[in-house]
Subunit: 272 residues, 2 copies
């Protein structure tokens, strides 16, 4: 974890001013997150993962219980920059976007990640997300990517913001341990068109269970409602499909994050 000087908030206050409430609440919106380069992390579990990561924390607002449970940590944080501010429970509720505030709320600097590049001879799997617009789905995909050891995620510009509060909660903290970049997906795929580019398609996809899947390349995941867009689909040189058991008139598609989980599992199963 890198610590930088907080510039947005006064230190060691126990009351949160209306202006601060307004600032923090505004961070629920993408526009304001982009403008400030900040985002909000809520709750004990998420904060625990945040602290293990190399994200920069601007400020931590916490209730007495959290501060007492994390005495050594708080002392070391405050030694450097008075990062932790104790606030009353009702103050925490004012800035929380959860139905019940979970003891601690952090203001954190977004981490810009460069687009994925391969080192010489490096073999790795990269996830490319094509306009995933459901915040919960994106969060679940990030969580699962980490589970299967996929650390690089490239998102199209219309994919939902990974610092969206719902997305963050669904990652269960996994977001702090993967690299996420937003870019023009067609340009990224064009640059990497000589690699294996896998993608699920409805027509002419090969049965995923019968393929020799290479753990080196890019897996494109499309949105649940529209699948992979046409402009992205033309770069998919390994079209795959997850076969369906149900009569075709009974079920149309799998949830995007579930499909992604099945695909990642299928890539990794021979390695274990």
């Amino acid at each position: 974890m890198t610590i930088c000087l907080p510039f947005l908030f006064f230190r060691l206050i126990s009351m949160i001013t209306n202006a601060q409430v307004k600032t923090i609440t505004a961070l629920k919106e993408k526009k304001f997150r982009e403008r400030s380069g900040l985002f909000v992390v809520e709750g004990r579990k998420m904060t625990q993962e945040l602290i293990k990561s190399d994200y920069e924390i601007e400020q931590i607002f916490a209730c007495k219980e959290w501060i007492e449970d994390n005495k050594i940590l708080v002392a070391s944080l405050n030694k450097i920059a008075n990062l932790v501010v104790e606030v009353a429970d009702r103050e925490l509720s004012r800035i929380s976007s959860l139905s019940t505030a979970d003891r601690v709320i952090c203001i954190v600097k977004q981490r810009k990640t460069n687009e994925v590049e391969w080192q010489t001879n490096e073999k790795k799997l990269v996830l490319a997300l094509d306009d995933i617009n459901n915040p919960g789905n994106l969060g679940t995909i990030i969580r699962m990517a980490l589970w299967f050891g996929v650390k690089d995620i490239v998102c199209s510009k219309d994919t939902v913001d990974c610092y969206n509060p719902k997305t963050l909660q669904s990652t269960m903290g996994a977001i702090f341990h993967v690299n996420i970049s937003y870019t023009d997906l067609t340009e990224f795929l064009f640059k990497n068109q000589k690699r294996n580019i896998y993608g699920t398609v409805l027509l002419n996809g090969k049965n995923i269970y019968k393929q020799q899947l290479q753990n080196d390349g890019i897996i494109v995941i499309g949105s649940e409602s529209h699948g992979i867009s046409d402009k992205v689909k033309r770069f998919v040189n390994n079209p795959i499909t997850i076969p369906c058991f149900a009569p075709s008139n009974e079920v149309e598609s799998l949830n995007a994050s579930v499909a992604c989980g099945i695909i990642l599992s299928e890539f990794r199963r021979t390695i274990f």
Copy 2:
């Protein structure tokens, strides 16, 4: 589709009374759904799947566009029991639980399913859900069960109601094509203890990718926060685990519905 006489609502009205609004709104709550034996289905896609199924419809409230798009269907429904009532858009919004009402809302009879029984020599997979309490997760699991041809789902009594509005929406209509029962899960497993009972456990589970999985038995899925409960776990005679690629301090678990998808895929992959 079986059609029965509507008893709750007047027929061919174009205004919805306050009492009706109250009744329909109350169906958002489990207590009232249980008491009335009814539930609400919203939107075009869900209604389309409902009509293909053998669920009994009590009443359909629809706007002009939906009725015009489904002329033949409406004529045949109204011939028997004046099932379809045309209402104005603003009327539909009054009873909808969606942010934007999607043209049609149906009042439907719940379908009680008997506990799963095996016919002589029948080989099948059954899902047993142990206290799945997230409505969205339950819906996704139902949708995916259908995809993988698992038609029987046995839920513990503390599993969230499958007619919960959020669950219904997440099933994307798959709910109308599977059999769901709620029962004492330990009793059900006790009765079937000679079958293969699979379940994911954190300790001593065998690597799922290295098992000979039998497509005949019961797969127990535990809740995301608590896993499989101890009282259910003692019936699991085939403990399995999905191996994790990430360092153990970075990720703790997979989303319950994603884990379920990976397990079902692993059972079915050799069949395709």
